[in-house]
Amino acid sequence: MGQIMKNITRVSIWRWTIIAFVGAYLLIPVFAMLEFSTRGAPGERSTEAWLAIPTFPKLLSSISTSLQLAFIVIFLVVFVLVPTMIWVHLRLPNLRRYMELVCLLPLTIPAIVIVVGIAPTYRALYQVFGSSPLTLSFVYFVLILPYSYRSISASLLSIDSHTLSEASRSLGASTIRMISGVIVPNIKVGIMSGAVISIALVLGEFTISNLLNFETMQVVINLLGKRDAATSVAVSLAALVFAFILLAILPTANKTRSSKLKTKRKVEAATK
């Protein structure tokens, strides 16, 4: 008995030492941002840098641009990626492997490489959409594919989509209704966690927007850093906290297991 107790305390000492060390590595820089952005006169704290955020109109418009981009990317995920994935999953199973390959491809093609080759695409895009920074949403959609594909695919595989689609078909539902009314509600968790990762990625993206000269939040924060370091640190911290809150309150992949159980129970209840 004493031996087991000793083992348990030893394990928990190790555990908390590791958590404290890695936690310090990750949290000290974040805390330093807070400290740096609230510096006032020597020995005093000040909110000056934070209050200065609204006084930079360019900063505000870039934040709005980045939020709009995030919104459009989520729109594309929900109305292009999700239906395509369901369609391929149910009707074109022979394409499943290729779909996965394509979706994971951006992992092997760095963003900086895409920038190098995207000039002709943007020349064509310019003819249709003009030079709006919102055209970045198409590239961002490609960048987030590996992450959104994985979370949606995990949800899709965890439900019995074939039975669901056959059931809704036999009750006379159209394809659109089958996808939007039956399948999508069942893979909501995967879609949501895919969407949240997309928000984090879009709000943090710098490489492509900087090299294509579009003024997204990160590009403007970077420029501002040279003039008003404290305010740009304050905005960075705010964006970090914003993404953190989104990720913390929205359901994570952890929950897919319980939702799988729930679906199973639902199916069992329905078949009884």
Binding site: R15, F31, L95, V102, V116, T252
Partner: protein, 319 residues
Amino acid sequence: MELSNSFHLFVELILESSLKGKEVVGLKKIGTNNLFRSSLPYLGILPFGLLVLFFLIWPTLVVISGALQNLDGGFGLGSLVEVATNDKYLNGFKVSIQLAAYSAIAGAILGALFSWAIARGNSEGYFRRLVLAASGVFAQFGGVMLTFAFLATFGFNGMLTILANSFFGENIFTDASWLYSLMGLVVVYTFFQIPLMLIVFLPAIENLKPEWKEASESLGGSTANYWFRVGGPILAPSFLGALLLLFANAFSAYATAAALISQGAPIVPLQIGFAISGEVSRTNPGISKALAVGMILIVVLVMFGYFKLQSKVSKWVKS
């Protein structure tokens, strides 16, 4: 008429296959005699296909074909040869690989220990949820913000710089230039490698069954025995796979280095950035593309290893 007809066929197919106990593959079989009808389902993937074609496939092909240019713009291997022989670019690849390798190793080891520490805790608890959310954010938020965070910590006026100087007297940390060296970049990159490691490695650690540990103990094995003989070998493919993913992640990163380093271009992504935004592209458009092809080759090689190891892992988990 057509529709109800095919519906009947569909129902028949279901009945038939359910009698045989086989899964229905789909509607495909019904219209095989009619090429148009059988290709109809493929229209459903058109919007997605177009997006991927224009924003992923086409740019990649542009890069590859653009790399096959001589320095004067004509077709040939000139740019690739220039990149493969010029010391400036070779050194860029060397430093990039070192940076990616060191930060991947540091991130993988610290991240694996961290995953173990988190896995030992309550799997439904708030602490884990917070850690996972924070990891999701930290793993994605490289770049400008990360640079600011480290400058606010170790920079000339950084929090720890001031603290250290007031503790140990002047001039201990006044010089923040170490941040811009290779080791400084490794320290900064490791910041986003640890959370990524947690995200990819935690599931592997959680798949370790407690029964295995009990079995090892009941046979008289110590904790060290368990980790060297049982846990370690089981986790090895996952760990190596994650290590490769971290390598590719750091090797591809541009934003952090671009925001941190304002002079010179010690790593390949920065060299590419300079090549497309600077004069080089006008005088020699092939260089950025040749460098990009070099990057693709290395990342594809690394990710190929990753996917191989992944399939090994999934075999293990299923059996």
